[in-house]
């Protein structure tokens, strides 16, 4: 590589201590979204303890999360289908990191869960709960293919949010 290299690595200390001048700005922006047509109905059904999918008569797929159009056939989807609140673990992870890269002492177990009653491979992201507090414990209890069921909040506490399901638990 007969190209002159440019660019200067800054020492973290020099940056933090103010030896190198820096500017700071805290952006504060709030958003509020209406849930839309498909997800609006989906969230409403969560309040009633039901998972809704959406069926397309073109390809025959029942999808979750539901959408009012089929991205495969590119046509309007046709009907609502009530799915079960059970499914199988498609894949999972044991996470010790928070959103800001700070560390957790007890892990979260996010998973893609294929929902029973939807077409094969149709999963949603959620958490698996009550499966241990160490990596070893979780790996002993959770595997790809594991049947699971939703653990719902009590009806009076449900808000029409994805967190109306607390987590999924092994069946």
């Amino acid at each position: 590589m007969d190209v002159k290299l440019r660019g200067t690595a800054l020492r973290e200390d020099d940056f933090r201590s103010g030896k190198v001048l820096a500017a700071e700005w805290r952006g504060k922006i709030d958003y509020r979204w209406d849930a839309g047509v498909a997800i609006g109905q989906f969230l409403n059904a969560l309040k009633e303890g039901r998972l809704l999918g959406r069926k397309c008569h073109g390809c025959g797929r029942t999808t979750i999360p539901p959408r009012m159009f089929c991205e495969k056939c590119f046509r309007r989807s046709d009907e609502w289908v009530v799915l079960k609140d059970t499914g199988r673990v498609n894949t999972f992870s044991v996470s010790f990191v928070n959103w800001d890269a700070s560390r957790r002492t007890t892990p979260q177990v996010p998973a893609v869960i294929e929902i029973d009653g939807a077409s094969p491979g149709m999963g949603i992201l959620h958490l698996i709960g009550d499966v241990g507090t160490t990596l070893e414990e979780v790996l002993a209890k959770v595997r790809v293919g594991l049947p699971v069921q939703a653990v719902w909040k009590p009806p009076e506490q449900r808000q029409g949010e994805i967190t109306d399901i607390l987590h999924f638990r092994p069946l």
Partner: protein, 387 residues
């Protein structure tokens, strides 16, 4: 359609935190590429400039902020943006600007500064998740990678030890790269014993947070011939995006990479990529990703890239295999997102023109490819260069 040549490349050091601002990094990379090509800014007809999410730098419409450093003042400039796939997409966009016949030359610049985000740039990624069905769960970026890696390992029965070997290989390759941030001689055990971040992802299997910029100069055949040097040509480009409903896809195989690669192979007249591609720079933000992408690129059968890794097929000094990430990749050189992918294109240019120095692969190379990937595991961008 005009033939398009790569006339030069330049890059800055890849570092955790640069003293230079984004504009200054762009200037350093762009001016180095022009020097390498033996051109001045007057020779440049248009600029393609890219950078990944604006949120990293906290600057709205970041490429407008950067354009003075990238030589774009008063010129036609555009930002192609497909997340992590942007670096290769910028080279592809540079290609169509020139191939169309509308411009003789194009300066392609990719910049990323991840260091300004506080406390850590990972937070800026959370907005890629669905705001109704995913974000309320307390998401973080590592989730999607660890979920995809777990699925890949399960479906094809791949041991963690094998995936750790990608990190060992790429960080070792990066020792030969003068711009590298994380070149290192590591053992598989050290990788496996590093901190579990989101199992099966461990810290030494993850690319770092990096600042840096890279630039390329492209020109049409008539202009390139006038410069009278050994030419590296753009032979194929391809890109494709898959559905954003990522939980509805089987994450074990990147179909979007396959689609992008097949389009690029078709354009290049390649029918047997395993024979006709001699060196590859697959996108490797995580160790498993390199293997996953080599399969999507059709350079290995599904689930077989790990087996080939064990045989040394992807090593830089292979004489019978295909060297993969001879630069050291994102795992070794560093990962200033958009710039990292353009670094991969620059590496193929350096390899094909015999300018890769310590990193020069041992086998004779006439054609190579660079590939990038991005967003919710849904973007594939591919470019094929040849001499």
């Amino acid at each position: 359609m005009q033939k398009v040549a790569v006339l030069g490349a330049g890059m800055t050091r890849f570092v955790r935190r640069s003293l230079e601002t984004g504009r200054e990094l762009c200037w350093e990379a762009a001016s180095a590429a022009l020097e390498d090509a033996g051109l001045t800014l007057e020779d440049i007809d248009c600029v393609v400039l890219t950078s990944a999410p604006d949120a990293f730098d906290g600057v709205h419409m970041k490429t407008e902020y950067l354009l003075d450093g990238a030589g774009a003042k008063g010129k036609p400039m555009v930002r192609p943006y497909v997340g992590g796939g942007s670096g290769v997409m910028a080279a592809n966009a540079g290609w169509y600007h020139v191939a169309s016949g509308r411009f003789r030359t194009c300066l392609v610049v990719a910049e990323e500064r991840m260091s300004p985000t506080q406390p850590h740039p990972q937070g800026a990624f959370n907005a890629i998740y669905d705001q109704f069905t995913e974000r309320p769960l307390g998401v973080n970026l590592l989730w999607i990678f660890s979920l995809e890696m777990m699925r890949y390992m399960q479906v094809y029965d791949i041991p963690l030890e094998t995936i750790a070997k990608v990190a060992v290989k790429n960080k070792r390759n990066a020792l030969g790269h003068p711009a590298s941030q994380l070149g290192a001689e590591l053992t598989v055990e050290e990788v496996l014993k590093s901190e579990v971040m989101a199992y099966p992802v461990m810290r030494l299997m993850v690319s770092p947070v990096t600042d840096g910029a890279v630039a390329l100069v492209l020109a049409n055949e008539k202009f390139a011939r006038r410069k009278g040097r050994k030419h590296v040509w753009v032979e194929g480009v391809g890109w494709a995006l898959d559905t954003s409903y990522w939980t509805n896809r089987d994450l074990c195989y990147p179909e979007y990479v396959e689609k992008a690669a097949l389009a690029a192979y078709k354009m290049a007249g390649i029918t047997n990529p395993r024979e006709e591609i001699h060196v590859a720079e697959p996108y490797d933000p995580f160790a498993y990703k390199e293997l996953h992408h080599l399969e999507g690129l059709q350079l290995a059968d599904k689930g077989q890239a790990p087996r080939l890794l064990e045989q040394g097929f992807w090593d830089r000094d292979t004489t019978t295999g295909i060297p993969a990430s001879p630069s050291g990749g994102l795992l070794g050189v560093g990962n200033p997102i958009a710039a990292a992918a353009l670094m991969k294109v620059a590496e193929i240019y350096w390899q094909l023109s015999g300018k890769a120095g310590e990193r020069q692969v041992r086998r004779n190379v006439k054609r190579g490819l660079a590939q990038a990937w991005g967003d919710l595991m849904q973007v594939g961008t591919v470019i094929i260069l040849g001499v």
